[in-house]
Symmetry: C2
Subunit: 391 residues, 2 copies
């Protein structure tokens, strides 16, 4: 087990009707906030009205900024920063999924910075301060509601880049599984793939003696796998949604990477995909991850055997471990197919060939590598994209 520090400060408020506590929670921090949300679904579902009513009850004034899209854009982040600076706003409430929350985090660091917020995403500036943010989660997927990360796309060149800092843990996150009832099936499936991907990125590690977290990651994967089909066929199944929503947060709140180094290569590759083609992040991961697995599994067959046996209930071929490992990878692919996700680039709607460009971008023109389990250069990334294309 590697040395680590773990200090997740986000307060989780979980359960039916929990969004009605938002005014009370926000008012501990500010009476004048930015209310940030997406394409307006929250207005159709009535969530917007409940949030605004709760804010008003607690005497919280707000300025609205909607319009966050999947793969949230830098331009809107800049708009949000401008609003915060011009109106002395010192709290941001994100109501939505990972994109809205990531966009809010970007605004929260940009609002207290004199330069351009993109500096942080380019690694040119270090986060030293941020406005506090709170969230009401509507899509179990990204885990941003209790994470240190924010991923933003710069439309100028279609670059998708991430920052990580303990300073952007939300102060609180409100998780009501009922809010997921209205999600379209494709988004449900993509979100579940995103959660599984967060778990698999952490699982595939070279760190030794990590039994507790191995087992807890496996537990969380099994729970997600066991409950996705239920919510796909019964959109209002609270119990299964509760399992998935809480799993999505636990998957990405940094507990599950204590004592180990995760991989994150598939995420880096997928970021180039959704940066250029604007596909759903989770769907992109469903395409990239199995291809990545096929390319790297020989690096540590035992770990892939453990994954196959413990997570996917594959019967171990003790004499031919490789067979078990490969069967586990097939289970992942089968699962993504079962829940209606693409498992190759063509199914994802990508028929042109910009593989070389993506491989180059992911590795900064071959000057760096992605991933930790196996460090992948430009040629490796190209090969994985090729595998994803051909499947």
């Amino acid at each position: 087990m590697d040395n680590f520090t773990f200090h997740n400060t986000t307060k989780i408020i979980f359960g039916k009707g929990s969004e009605n506590r938002v005014g009370k929670e926000v008012s501990k921090y500010s009476k004048k906030i930015l209310l940030h949300y997406g394409g307006g679904t929250i207005k159709k579902t009535g969530l917007y009205d409940r949030v605004v009513s709760s804010l008003k009850k607690s005497g919280v004034d707000y300025i609205e900024l909607g319009g966050v899209n999947p793969n949230p854009k830098l331009s809107l982040v800049r708009d949000g920063i401008k609003i915060c600076k011009e109106n002395d706003i010192n709290f941001i409430l994100a109501v939505g999924g990972g994109s809205v929350i990531d966009s809010s985090k970007a605004i929260s660091i940009g609002a207290l910075y004199n330069g351009d917020v993109w500096d942080f995403y380019l690694g040119k500036a270090r986060i030293k301060d941020s406005l506090p943010i709170g969230t009401i989660l509507t899509i179990p997927a990204a885990g941003s509601e209790s994470s240190t990360g924010s991923v933003i796309t710069n439309e100028d060149g279609a670059y998708k880049r991430a920052v990580n800092s303990e300073l952007i843990y939300p102060k609180f996150s409100i998780l009501n599984p009922e809010l997921a009832f209205t999600l379209p099936k494709y988004q449900v499936a993509s979100g579940s793939a995103d959660i599984l991907a967060h778990l698999m990125e952490r699982y595939f590690t070279n760190s030794q003696h990590v039994e507790l977290m191995d087992r807890i990651i496996e537990s969380t994967m099994k729970t997600v796998i066991n409950n996705v089909s239920t919510v796909l066929s019964q959109a209002d199944n609270y119990d299964s949604w509760a399992e998935i929503m809480w799993s999505g947060t636990v998957a990405h709140n940094n507990l599950l990477n204590t004592g180990r180094v995760g991989d994150w290569g598939s995420h880096d590759i997928e970021h180039e995909l959704s940066g250029i083609y604007d596909v759903a992040h989770g769907a992109g991961l469903a395409v990239i991850f199995p291809a990545w697995m096929k390319y790297v599994y020989k690096h540590d067959i035992n770990r892939f055997v453990q994954f196959a046996v413990r997570v996917w209930n594959v019967e171990n071929s003790f004499n031919v471990p490789e067979k078990t490992a490969i069967e586990g990878i097939k289970k992942v692919e089968d699962f993504f197919k079962l829940i209606g996700l693409p498992t190759n680039l063509k199914e994802l709607g990508i028929t042109d060939d910009r593989l070389e460009e993506m491989a180059s971008k992911a590795t900064n023109s071959d000057s760096s590598t992605v991933g930790n389990f196996v460090k992948l250069g430009k040629e490796d990334v190209y090969s994985i994209l090729k595998l994803a294309q051909e499947k």
Copy 2:
């Protein structure tokens, strides 16, 4: 899954040599602290010197109070409060196991209270404020390093009582598995039983649809079970100690009871045992828990079957589930025996008969019940103690 809030604010600093960071961490809060510890083992092992050196390097002044015993006593807590009040101390550093940490928490709430600190433990006063505390953990067991609890024994009548408050989460806890290398075997075994008991208390619940936490609790139990024998035979096995130490914290940091109501009846019964006889808490639990299981398992045989199959790898007797359940309970008992713990009152050194007195104390003279999975009155508690005696 029940509605819940979860907000554990303790910063965990985990790994080899991590105690050398204590001065830096403490100095974020205070330059004048109470250094609280136990019987002086930390002086023999050199830990005391390293702590003091780190404090001095960071310019932190300290007043010492050693002498905490297992089942920490109210009188010493009162001494600590007096020292804090008279010397304007505003931070407490606990160096030791659960007893030292619980004693520090008691001092931290008493130091800012005008009445008698025992009021909190009797439920006569509510915790509204506390001094910040930090810990360096030397015994993986109680989980107090990242919990909301503190258990103190009032020697006047041998009452052992608990408080719970989010205000007593330590600000930081330093966990270095190397510090456990010198523990006597009996303490290792008792500590492991304590960790398992914390997991079992959470596991046996009437809350429905709690798959994620069921699985994570099972994961943590399996990890503890898999590693105890190793550290009993190889006292300096860092890897196994790391698994146990981190498991001990995860077991009790409140994540694992999210969405569910735990039982805690066995703890309440054991508190009377160690309150009167001053036995090791974990050893007391090793005696009480199997007796409790035998008394209550019919309340939910399916849950006991799941426990037997998933945690103890018992082959399920599908046609006679009760057989599986009973075999699981036997596995618990066998495990405690294997690691050298008593499994009945006689082996614990208790030969007189004060069962009635303990049953009465645990249930406040039959005016209340203990436990949630099954609510137990005085007669039930007496029956469980009788089972523990006869085994």
